[in-house]
Structures are given as structure tokens and as C-alpha cells.
């Protein structure tokens, strides 16, 4: 949006010689109107006018009657002779034989024929083909087949006959090019308009910009006609008299939104005596279609046409359905309106409405109401052209989810100079095409305060200082004047010696509010390609942060351990949390819910990485992987404590205001998770298959901790979604909980269709990295010989090996270089309820070599420590 038919554009601006849709699009891009697409001509090939010379009606077995028609399509296209095996009806003359199923024509009529080689909209290529026993050498066309809509009168059920219906007034001779005749060869450029350029939602605005790009002469269509005679503009309180007098209009806004009055100007013009059967002229319908709108009726089409042309939305009321005068006001509680789309809408008090004595009749600037709709029997209309507040229209359109052609324009800002010009133009068109009469009195009311664009001070050198381009005075002043600004030069330079220009933006550019916006205008018209390339020199940086380095190291270490990083979409559901067996009171149930999720069954933000990583594991298995080793580092989200305040952005918020934002914001942490399932490596020559298991999950966390330079402790734990007896808590050296690792609960494994024994981990990644020392102390490296000692302790089965190891370390003191568990035994050799744990110890003193006596002493200390701590006995 909007769509620009080239011939329409050419009405307002001189096109370059040989201009094509592509060249026009390229010109518009250069001034900032992006090309959306180029819509090629709807019809190509030999589409010509033909005269029906003769026809015979042939009844078919299916009950249908078809016409076998002899058509004169002009010397250039006629076949010399009939095919003797398939003669056409009537006297043989140069012509073509065509089968036609329509019946709204007789010999002598001029019709539109698509000869073989024509491509109709669809695309629908036409070829000669055998049908109903004859060789049909083309097709006689209907309006719909040419992309001209449903047509008028008989042609809605048949074909186009020149001089009738939508081809009324068209005269031609056989062989004439019907593409040109009906304007079907037109290319259209569809452009994107950024929200600051509301004026480009019109041919007037786009033509102006095309002129800027090419220098082509632009004729402002808003200045090219007489604006008509207003009754004396009156202020808001003024109303006009009874019938025959101008329609009384009142502007009453008791509660402007953000200081913006809802309606600052309202023009009402009655046009009476319109022929309700008068169609819109074909060219007008054609332009509407090319611009992407549907022709409806003359009065509606005219309003739409003027809107597309000038950018001023108009509304057409059926004047006979109005009761009393017009009031523009805010809606009242409980008021409803059935809009033109037949939806009954309950209005909000903030909605700006148009009302008459019967109540609300339209949503101002958004959509009209059904009760006053101009329809097939309408003979008098009231044309409305108004200046509505962008904020008010935007809010109403949003609240009612009702974006319309009108609201789109109003919320971007409509030139306040346009209402009376647009109304006058529409009224004149109704007179011209519908035989109406413009009532002599027009109502034009305005608020006392008119929205005015403030002049902007622009130091002459400011554009250069912002763009890094040397602009001449002519560049600055000339370009601003070119876009319609009035530039006033101060008679004497300001104190600093620099000349300051006072720039008054034109009425259609409400976006020009700061000097930087003026610089953009100068820069884009001179050309962004003039900007030189200069690399800025930043002061020395500090490199990556500890967290950033740590995350990279961790993910790389896991990749090197055989895990594959994936990035899942963080949307999830209560169902997934159920599948993970997360209890109701778990913090992971305190989720963030989206108001407008993409999928209704995934409205939650994940509170656990596993909530989205396990489905990814499932997907890989479902796609045929026998095993998966996945990891993901990402954000998890928890419900915040309440509403996050929105302070003013006019100035910097206070520290307290900023702190209040962060305090209320949903808590988020960055976590690391992994899923390990199936075989580590399949069985093969190199050895037997081994499956990933709970110990691999803990090991992966250890790899991550090592990579981050952090120490972690592993203790027995229990939490969903893990196996209750095979879960490790991962804690920092200080004992803070980081997360969990272990085998998944069999029900979870089943829910996600993973291989048996599938294991997983999830830890707080940033906390892990932050637990690492910021600086590593090296410590001495002893070169003294090592002493190796083995121990086996019998302890209760519920005593963790890590506790025994910890007790040994206490007993052995600094001399212990390492203590490693190498065997765990339960069975006949130890008492019921007991187990044996065997440790290999390496002793390495820092001071002097250990003698036998010292070693014996250390052994005893370890044995005593284990005995004291957990009653463990050295195994005999």
C-alpha cells in the first residue's frame, strides 16, 4: 500500500520519457518510498474489438444452448476462409469462428475478443481449442474475465457489448486494440510508505516525491480546482439554521486525548438529485481496481477516488436518512453503533463519533454506520470532509480492531488544508457523473485553535555537522523549499556568527518537528550516496566480560564433549510442565503468560530450558536419530511482581523510577541445559556401545564448570523431571544451588518418547560463571616424590561416597594431592545394609619427602576421620 497506477501518477507529475513501472519504482526508492511489488499489466496479447456477423444457437445434450458465432476482428486478425469441415454460420467472409455461452448480444454488436495468444488476468492464457464440436478461435469476454468487476445490467450475466453497461459511450471498430480501449495494459507500482509520510498515502503525495526524484514538473491537484464557496467559516459553537440552510454542525469535545481536540475542522456539503442508477464511469472504476479498491456505487466510488487522489478521507451519508444536525463528540457509556461491515459495536467513552438526533451514526475517521449508509436508492448525500485527531482515530481503530483506509490516513496525519478542497472535488464529480446538484450552502466549522506546525530553527551548518556531507547554502535552502517549506533567513547572523534559518514546514508534513527531520529532507534529496565513508575511532575497549567469555568457553567445551547446541523457541504450555511432572507449588509454575501468543496452545514463556529442549530431543529421535546429545544456553522467565511503571520519556527518569522498572520486571535468568539419550557411540570395531547415563549428565556439568573455571559440588537430590533416586544437586563450592543433573524420570522419558535411561541437566549458567574466582591463584607445584595409598571403608549404604571422601581429605590434610573413588561394593562380603568404598589416594608433601612413619601416621588420620564422621571402618 498504496498502489500507484502510472497513468494516474502522470495526471499530477510529468513522467520521464519511456517511464516504466520499474523505472518509476527505482526513482521512488531513491527518495525513500520502498517498492513492495510491481503489478504487471493485467492483460497482454491480441485483445481486440470484434463485430458479431452471424450466429447460430446450438442446443447441447446437457441442456445448455451455445452460440457458434462468426466475428469480424479486423483485417489484421481475420482468417481469409472458413475451414470447409467446420464452416462458420452465415455468409463466408474473412472472420473468426468463436463459441460463446452468453446470450446478451445479437449480430451487429461490437464485442471484446481475446484471440489465441492473449493472457487474461489469472493468468488465463487463451488458445484455439475444440469445444462443442467446433474449433473456437478465441473467446468473447465478460467484464469479470478482463478483471473489470461484475459489470452492470445484462453484462453481469453475459459479455461486454460496446456502447452498453460499463462500455457505455465507447465506440470502436473491429480490430481496435481493446487493451488500450479499456485501459487494461497499465502497470502498477505498489509501494511501502513509512509511518512518518502520511501524505504519500495519495497520488498527490507520491507525485510530489516523484517530482523530487526526477525534477519532473508537479501540479498540485489540491490547487488545480476551485475550492468552492464556503459559508462563512464558523467557530465550534456555531450552528446553522433549519432546512434549506447549511447543515448544522457542532464540534463538542469534552475530553480531548493528550490535549488533542478530536475534530478541528468539519466540512459538510449536501449534493441532491443524484441519479441512483448512474454508474461510476468506467475509467474511475478501472482506477479504483488498479489502486486495489472495489467499485461499489457512484457516491462511494467518488469519495474513495478523491481520498486516493488527494489523501483526504471523505464520508458519504445518505442525506435523507439523517435526522437533524450533526454533532462530533465523544461516545457515551452504553452507546452502540452498527458499522458498515454490519458489526454491532459497543462504543468506548474515548471514541470520537459523529451523531445526529437519532444517536451515533459513524465512528469518526474510522468507519461509517449502517443506518445512514448511501445505497442503491440514494439520491441526496451529505459529504463529510474533516480533520480528525490522529491519536483519537488511532486509538478507536485499535480498540475496535478496525483498521480502515480512512483510519490509516488519519492516524498518520492528513493535510488540514484538504477538507474543503476534497469535498468540493467530490461534489463536482457527483454532479458530473450522477447529475446531482450542489446545494448552495456548505457548512464549514472549525475550532478556534487550529493545529499549526511550529517553525523550526536550523543553523545553516547543522546538516553538514550531522551528515558529514558538505552542503551548499543552495542545497539547504533550495531542498527545503522544494519540499514545500517556507525558509526565512535572519537578517543578521546570530551571536555565534552562524546563520540560523527559520523553516516553516508545509501543512502536509506534520512529521517535520525537529531540525534533524529537516536534515533528512536535505540529505535524501541531495542523495544518501553523497555520504562519505569514515571509520570512527572508539576509545580502547575492555573486551568481552567475564560472563561473555565464560559462556563461550562453556558451550565450546560441551561441543567438544560431543554435545550439539540448539536454539529452541522459548514458548511452552502448562501441558509440557505437566509432562515434566512439575508440581503445582514449584517456582517453575510461576510462568509468564503472553496476551497474544502465536499459538493458543503455547501461551507461556519457558520457566525451564528443558521444557523446550526435551521436545527438540523428541523431534530428533522422531526424525530417525538413535541417540541425541543436545545442549542449549538461554533465558528462562518467571512471573513478575506486578505492573511495570511507564515514566515519561521527555527527560531522563530518576534513578528511583528506573529502579522501580527493574524491580517489577519479570525475573529472567540465563540457564544451561542438556539432554543425553541413547548410545554415546554405536557398537563397532572400536568397542561395545555405551549409553549416555546419569553420570554423563553430571560429567557434562563438570565439563562446563571446568571450562568456566568454577568448582562445583555434587550431592544427592530429588526434583522433577528427574528420577527420584538418580538426581544430583549441583552446588557451588560455597554451597549455593546451581541446578540439577541426572537420569530423567521414566514417566518423563515416556512422555517425550526418548530412549530408556535418558539423562539431562539444567543449571544457572551465569551463577556458575560468577562463582568462579575472577583471578586464579597458581599455588606451588611440588616436585617431591609421590606416595600412593589405597583405602577401603565399610559404611552404611546411605552414606554418600562424597562424604567419606570429604572426611578423608580432612584427615589427610595438605599432603593429599588427590583422593579418587575406584570401587563401590555391596554384597555378601560386607554386612547387611553396608557397602564398601575403595579409594586411591596420592600423597605429595610440599616440604620434604614422606617417610614410612609419616605415611602410616597420615593413613591413621584418614581412618580416624572416617570413623568419627560416619562410623566407617577400614575393611579387613
Amino acid at each position: 500500500m498504496p498502489r500507484i497506477p502510472l497513468t494516474w501518477l502522470a495526471d499530477h507529475v510529468e513522467l520521464e520519457p519511456g517511464a516504466t513501472a520499474e523505472s518509476v519504482a527505482a526513482r521512488l526508492v531513491s527518495v525513500g518510498l520502498e517498492e513492495e511489488e510491481i503489478i504487471p499489466a493485467q492483460v497482454t496479447g491480441p485483445l481486440v474489438v470484434g463485430r458479431v456477423l452471424d450466429l447460430v444457437k446450438e442446443e447441447q445434450k446437457n441442456g445448455k444452448t451455445i452460440n457458434w458465432v462468426r466475428v469480424d476482428v479486423g483485417d489484421e486478425h481475420n482468417e481469409e476462409k472458413d475451414n470447409p469441415k467446420d464452416p462458420q454460420p452465415g455468409e463466408e467472409v474473412p472472420s473468426r469462428g468463436i463459441i460463446c455461452g452468453a446470450h446478451n448480444f445479437v449480430p451487429g454488436d461490437l464485442v471484446v475478443v481475446s484471440l489465441p495468444g492473449t493472457v487474461l488476468p489469472g493468468p488465463f492464457p487463451i488458445a484455439a481449442r475444440k469445444t462443442y464440436g467446433h474449433m473456437s478461435d478465441g473467446m468473447i469476454c465478460s467484464t469479470a474475465e478482463l478483471g473489470l468487476g461484475d459489470g452492470i445490467g445484462d453484462e453481469t450475466k453475459g459479455i461486454i457489448v460496446l456502447g452498453k453497461g460499463s462500455a457505455e459511450g465507447i465506440d470502436a471498430k473491429p480490430g481496435d486494440d481493446a487493451i488500450a480501449l479499456f485501459g487494461l495494459g497499465e502497470e502498477v507500482v505498489d509501494i511501502n510508505v513509512t509511518p512518518d509520510r502520511g501524505y504519500c498515502f495519495s497520488m498527490r503525495g507520491v507525485a510530489r516525491e516523484y517530482g523530487h526524484a526526477t525534477g519532473g514538473a508537479f501540479t498540485d491537484p489540491a490547487l488545480s480546482g476551485a475550492a468552492g464557496e464556503d459559508s462563512r467559516p464558523t467557530d465550534a459553537a456555531a450552528t446553522s439554521g433549519p432546512d434549506g440552510e447549511p447543515v448544522p454542525v457542532q464540534l463538542k469535545d469534552d475530553s480531548p486525548i493528550r490535549g488533542q481536540i478530536g475534530c478541528t475542522a468539519y466540512v459538510a456539503q449536501k449534493v441532491t438529485g443524484i441519479d441512483p442508477s448512474a454508474p461510476s464511469p468506467r475509467w474511475l472504476q478501472q482506477r479504483l481496481i488498479l489502486a486495489g479498491m472495489r467499485p461499489i456505487s457512484l457516491s462511494v466510488d467518488v469519495a474513495n477516488y478523491v481520498m486516493l487522489d488527494l489523501g483526504q478521507p471523505l464520508h458519504t451519508f445518505d442525506a435523507d436518512k439523517l435526522t437533524g444536525g450533526i454533532t462530533v463528540r465523544r461516545a457515551r457509556t452504553g452507546e452502540t453503533l452498527i458499522t458498515l461491515d454490519d458489526q454491532e459495536r459497543t462504543l468506548f467513552e474515548e471514541d470520537l463519533v459523529i451523531a445526529d438526533d437519532s444517536g451515533v451514526i459513524a465512528l469518526a475517521g474510522v468507519m461509517g454506520g449502517a443506518s445512514t449508509e448511501a445505497g442503491e436508492s440514494t439520491t441526496s448525500v451529505l459529504l463529510e470532509g474533516a480533520s480528525f485527531s490522529p491519536i483519537s482515530v488511532a486509538r478507536t481503530a485499535r480498540r475496535h480492531r478496525l483498521p480502515s483506509e480512512a483510519s490509516k490516513r488519519f492516524e498518520r496525519g492528513v493535510d488540514p488544508a484538504l477538507p474543503q478542497i476534497a469535498v468540493q472535488k467530490a461534489a463536482e464529480m457527483l454532479v458530473e457523473f450522477g447529475g446531482g446538484t450542489i446545494e448552495p450552502q456548505r457548512t464549514h466549522v472549525r475550532t478556534e485553535e487550529q493545529p499549526a506546525l511550529a517553525p523550526i530553527d536550523l543553523p545553516l551548518g547543522f546538516a553538514e555537522r550531522l551528515m558529514g556531507v558538505q552542503y551548499s547554502r543552495e542545497d539547504v535552502v533550495g531542498r527545503l523549499e522544494q519540499i514545500g517549506c517556507t525558509v526565512v533567513t535572519a537578517s543578521t547572523p546570530a551571536a555565534g556568527g552562524e546563520e540560523v534559518l527559520t523553516v516553516q514546514p508545509p501543512s502536509w508534513r506534520p512529521d517535520l518537528t525537529i531540525r534533524e527531520a529537516l536534515v533528512e529532507e536535505i540529505a535524501r534529496l541531495v542523495g544518501y550516496d553523497q555520504i562519505p565513508s569514515v571509520l570512527p575511532k572508539a576509545p580502547g575497549g575492555r573486551g568481552l566480560t567475564r560472563l561473555q567469555r565464560g559462556r563461550r568457553a562453556v558451550l565450546t567445551a560441551l561441543a567438544e564433549s560431543g554435545l550439539t547446541e540448539v536454539l529452541t523457541v522459548p514458548f511452552t504450555s502448562e501441558q509440557v510442565l505437566d509432562d515434566l511432572q512439575v508440581p503445582a507449588d514449584d517456582e517453575r509454575r510461576s510462568t509468564v503468560c503472553l496476551l497474544n501468543p502465536l499459538q493458543d496452545d503455547q501461551p507461556l514463556m519457558r520457566s525451564s530450558i528443558l521444557a523446550t529442549l526435551l521436545p527438540a530431543a523428541q523431534l530428533n529421535i522422531a526424525r530417525g536419530e538413535d541417540a541425541v546429545a543436545l545442549t542449549e544456553a538461554g533465558t528462562v522467565f518467571f512471573r513478575g511482581s506486578g505492573q511495570v511503571p511507564v515514566p515519561s520519556a521527555e527527560t531522563r527518569p530518576t534513578d528511583a523510577e528506573l529502579a522501580a522498572i527493574d524491580a517489577a520486571l519479570a525475573p529472567q535468568t540465563r540457564r544451561l541445559a542438556g539432554v543425553l539419550a541413547g548410545a554415546v557411540a554405536p557398537e563397532g570395531v572400536a568397542g561395545k556401545a555405551r549409553s549416555w547415563d546419569w553420570a554423563d549428565a553430571i560429567s557434562a556439568v563438570k565439563r562446563a564448570a571446568d571450562a568456566a573455571g568454577a568448582q562445583v559440588e555434587v550431592v544427592q537430590g530429588e526434583i522433577a523431571p528427574f528420577h527420584p533416586g538418580r538426581t544430583a544437586e549441583i552446588r557451588t563450592a560455597e554451597g549455593d544451588l546451581l541446578g540439577h543433573a541426572g537420569e530423567l524420570h521414566p514417566s518423563v522419558i515416556k512422555a517425550f518418547k526418548l530412549p530408556a535411561g535418558a539423562s539431562a541437566f539444567e543449571i544457572d549458567l551465569d551463577a556458575l560463571i560468577e562463582s568462579a574466582p575472577s583471578v586464579v591463584d597458581a599455588g606451588p607445584v611440588s616436585t617431591l616424590p609421590i606416595a600412593k595409598e589405597d583405602f577401603a571403608f565399610v559404611v552404611d549404604q546411605n552414606v554418600p561416597a562424597s562424604a567419606v571422601r570429604a572426611a578423608m581429605l580432612v584427615g589427610l590434610g595438605d599432603a593429599a594431592e588427590s583422593v579418587r573413588l575406584f570401587d563401590e561394593y555391596r554384597g555378601d562380603q560386607v554386612a547387611e545394609g553396608k557397602k564398601s568404598l575403595a579409594f586411591a589416594v596420592r600423597l605429595r608433601p610440599l616440604e620434604s619427602t614422606l617417610n614410612t612413619k609419616q605415611i602410616a601416621q597420615l593413613r591413621q588420620q584418614a581412618i580416624d576421620a572416617v570413623a568419627t564422621a560416619m562410623g566407617g571402618e577400614l575393611r579387613a
Binding site: 525537529i514 571509520l535 575497549g541 567438544e560 550439539t564 540448539v566 503472553l594 527527560t651 531522563r652
Partner: protein
Amino acid sequence: MEKACDSVSPTQEFPSEQEIRAAVDAALAAIGQASSSAELKQVRIDHVGDNAPLSIANRGIRDLPKEQKAAAGKLIGGSKGQVQKALAERQQQIAAEELEQALRSETVDVTTWQDRLPRGARHPLSTLGDRISDFFVGMGWEIAEGPELEAEWFNFDALNFDEDHPARQMQDTFYVAPEGSGQVLRTHTSPVQARTLLERGVPLYIACPGRVFRTDELDATHAPVFTQVEGLAIDKGLTMAHLEGTLNEFSRAVFGGEPITRLRPSYFPFTEPSAEIDFRCFSCDARAGIDHDADPACRVCGGTGWIEMGGCGMVNPAVLRACGVDPEEYQGFAFGLGIERILMLRSAVPDMHDIVEGDIRFSQHFGTEI
């Protein structure tokens, strides 16, 4: 020993020099013929053992008249040395041959090799993100981060998105329940710029990579979650020329070649003036310059010669004011690029689904390098 000595007859005649040389020659010949450690051991016994002629002769020296002892000692010593040296050399030779043979017998078929660990990989988006971060760090910029679920104030208000301006509606925002929570999933990483400006002040040169969210259905080229990197430089005297220079350098680093960057006028609430960024296609003939035509079938630029990369502009003074920076003193630029798009173009990724679905085969194309 005693016995062996005794067995030598004192009356036996001391061998002649010729006989000694013959014994040496016999020993050297035997050493040369020995082909294994075992054979060489026998040769050692036969020729330098207690009963070998040279050993016997050596013991005979003590019985020679005093004036002959020196010459005989020199002859015998030299001869024995010669034999021992040959033995040692042969021993080393045989040991090497035998080791060689032993190793040969241990030959394995190395092509039966198998991975002991599955191949791991980083996700290419994170590797590419790291690489892009490194580019900025290399210029002295820093990498800033912020929350993915963001306060509306940071995502919109601080960035000059008026609450009623259509630009705010065009962001396709995910809103956090309940209505009026004041929170959204950030639609861009620009709120990080605002946070960092507020926290660190100016001058500031930062890049902000991160995940962002828009209500776009997942299809071949769109995803509701994607990755952006934004740059922000605020200092005294920065101009749009510095923006152009930075983008050129970025293009050179990521796509290689001589960069050609085209800026097109556009609109963003947080920049004024604003521009869309196009890079000259790095893939087809268009890379040679704007006077070279693009390949009409080019998969990277679609035959246009240009790749749309993102948006940029000079930071709007309203943003600077909201972040406590005096726009009369400082100005700067900002830009935003999509990392998925860069990845898809650089590595010929055919479909966005591959990037977001979590199929390991996608990440495994890349390993830990990009």
C-alpha cells in the same frame, strides 16, 4: 675362572700375530652372519667368551717375557675391542630389525577407526554472533546485553515510539499478560542501547547481539524469535559518514571483498535521519561494483545486486534526552542487522525452519567454526 685359567697350558705357545688376526677375522665374519639376537649371543660366546682364542691369548700375556707384554697387550686389546665394537653395532642393527618386524606384526586396519564420542557442535547463530562480537571488540567497542522480556518503557517510550504512533503498532509485539502489565517481549535489541546509555553514559561504543521477538508465523524466511545485532556509537562529532564507514567495515569483515554499502531514506522513531542498509551482493558479478550487472539468477541478491540488511540512522535527540545525554553536545548513530539473514546468505541456508527447529543435523554442518 680359576679352572679356566688352569686349563690353559703355561707351556702353550703364545699365538702369532697372524693367528690373532685370523681369530679376529673369524669373529667379524661370524658377527656379520648372525641374523638374530640369539645367533649373535652364540657368536659372542664363541669369539669373546672365556674359551675363545682371543680370551685365551689375553690370559697368556702374563706369561710372556716382560719386553713382549706391551706389544702383545696392545695387539690383543685392539683385537678384542674391534670384535666388541662389531658385536655392539650388529646388536643394535638386529634389535632395530627385530623391533621393526615386531611392529609390522602389530599392524591394524586404521580405516576401521570409529568416533568414541559423537561429533558435537555449536549452533551457527551463536558462533556467528561470537564472530560478529569479535569484529566490534576488535574496533574497541564493547558488547552489551539486556533482558529479553522488557519493560515497555525501554522497548518503546525511551526509543521515541509514541504510544499512539502507528510505528508502535507496526512492531508486531508480543504483549505480556495481564493487559497493562507494562511488559513486552523485546521487539529489537535497541532497549539494550537505552539501558547501557543510562548505565554507562557517554562516550559509548557498543554492539548488542541478542534474541528478539515479533508475532510473525514461522515460515521459510520468518520466525517469531530471531537474532539481531545492533550497534550504537555516541560521541562528540559523530556523523552519518561514520555510520557508513562502520557498515563498510562490518561488510568487509563478514562477507569479505571490497564493501559497497547503499543507504536508502527510511523512517525509524529512534533515528533521524534514518536509512535502510543495502550491501552490494557478495556472491554474483555485482560484487565487482555498481557498474557490474547482477546475475539474474543469483540466489543471494535475487538478481537485484543488493542485499537488504537492516536499518540505521543518527540517534534521535529525543532518545538521548530520555537517556540523560545532552543532544547539544553529543550525537551518534545506531544500526541493526539480522543475524539469521546473514547466516542464511553466507551459508546458503534454504529455510528458516532449519535454524529454529533444533534438528542436530543443522548445527552439525558447522561444528564449532563458521
